[in-house]
Subunit: 239 residues, 2 copies
Amino acid sequence: MQEQTDPPGEPNPGLVSTAIQAITQHIRSEGLAPGDPLPSEAAMTRQLNVSRTVVREAFRSLSAMRLIDMSAGRRATVAKLDTGAMSMVIEHGITTQQISVQQVYDVRRTIEMRTVALAALRRTDQEAEAIARSARLMRENFTNPEAVMEHDIAFHEAIAAASHNPVFSLIVTAFSGVTRRTWVIGWRTRSSDEAQLKMIKGHEDIADAILKGDPRLAAEHMAEHFDKSVKALLDAGIA
Amino acid sequence: MQEQTDPPGEPNPGLVSTAIQAITQHIRSEGLAPGDPLPSEAAMTRQLNVSRTVVREAFRSLSAMRLIDMSAGRRATVAKLDTGAMSMVIEHGITTQQISVQQVYDVRRTIEMRTVALAALRRTDQEAEAIARSARLMRENFTNPEAVMEHDIAFHEAIAAASHNPVFSLIVTAFSGVTRRTWVIGWRTRSSDEAQLKMIKGHEDIADAILKGDPRLAAEHMAEHFDKSVKALLDAGIA
DNA sequence: AATAACAACCTGTCATACAGGTTTTGAGGG
DNA sequence: CCCTCAAAACCTGTATGACAGGTTGTTATT
């Protein structure tokens, strides 16, 4: 009952893969934008001549990748760019030991050297303030590691946002999950208050450089920050 | 019949999300490596006290993200790191116009400036040869744009591989899909044979620098290459 | 015209069934 | 005792039907 969309060319891509392609293809060909509704499962079922089971698994898969949003009663809609899938891939790589924390930090360093420079050049005043605020909150809560970490992460995401390139934001945010799992380790190696405050000072320096609009200085401070962070992780024995 | 794993804390995460978490959690807690088998759908069904439908949608979602491999008759296995999900996210961003090709190129430039430097430092002889071979094949097939493009993509992926950091490979490969859709445009703006051969020469220069183990030179050539590529795309009106 | 009840539609979940694959088992033969 | 091979047990892929509950548009009542 389902031969038309599955020409005997390939061996066995599976009906679900075909359905996934059909849906993404629909988004493309109809030029849908985030928020626009997709066909209902029933409609897709008829169009593809497959069971609702197959269509549902396809929708669900796209939903898991956060390419579409689903909720009960409503039709699925095209989703805004989201980091969901990427974080899961990275986390999967880490937990299955296919990538190391240090490798992630190398990538982060590479990317954030760029985002910080772009942020210095392109930030709005609001964005500069948001970045500075995160740094300030790190200092104000510095007795509470959990809070410092969250503001640290927000700090880096705010810089990525100020780069005005959503692809950078996407990647930086995707790494936040890994950061949450390793951050405390780095913090602990900075045993003294001075060492911890010094690290916070580093963030403030970055925020200042962005405020001043000095990309070179900002990048320098960011490099220093990452070098120290990686050293802290290495000291803690994180390969 | 399914209250135990769904405490009344959150409003409605959905049974499938819960199942997805349970599966990834299983991978983590059992310390599974790529190739290791996961519980069968029936086993998961019993463990979570939900219907097979729910478990299946969860498995299928993870499979769509390429975190697990599924095939008929066999149990699902933990997957090797794969770029599947990432490419889909990027492509989704492009087709829904949430990100621009130019923004992707900026990210690529940032990342590949680093991969090329790392490749120059860490490449094995085999890897250097693979990189050089791709450049050579670009020249040999230069009357066939399609072939040139594929070797071009392979060239960049080979460099990422030679960086010995799989996260870089992951990201670079994720961008290959976008490249396939825009490459020809850049090629066409290089209307004359000289311009096209010059572009190929650029790749050979990069390969040489990597072979020599000169990261600075390699990065310089790579920067030049990207600047020209972006210029070509801009000339063609790709924002 | 505002509102409230209703109908139509949609997704979320469950149960069941069966067609192929794949692995395990075990019987029979060497 | 070991090897071979076929049956059995298990597994995934897909289809069908059912029903609960959420959402939206329609209609009837006030």
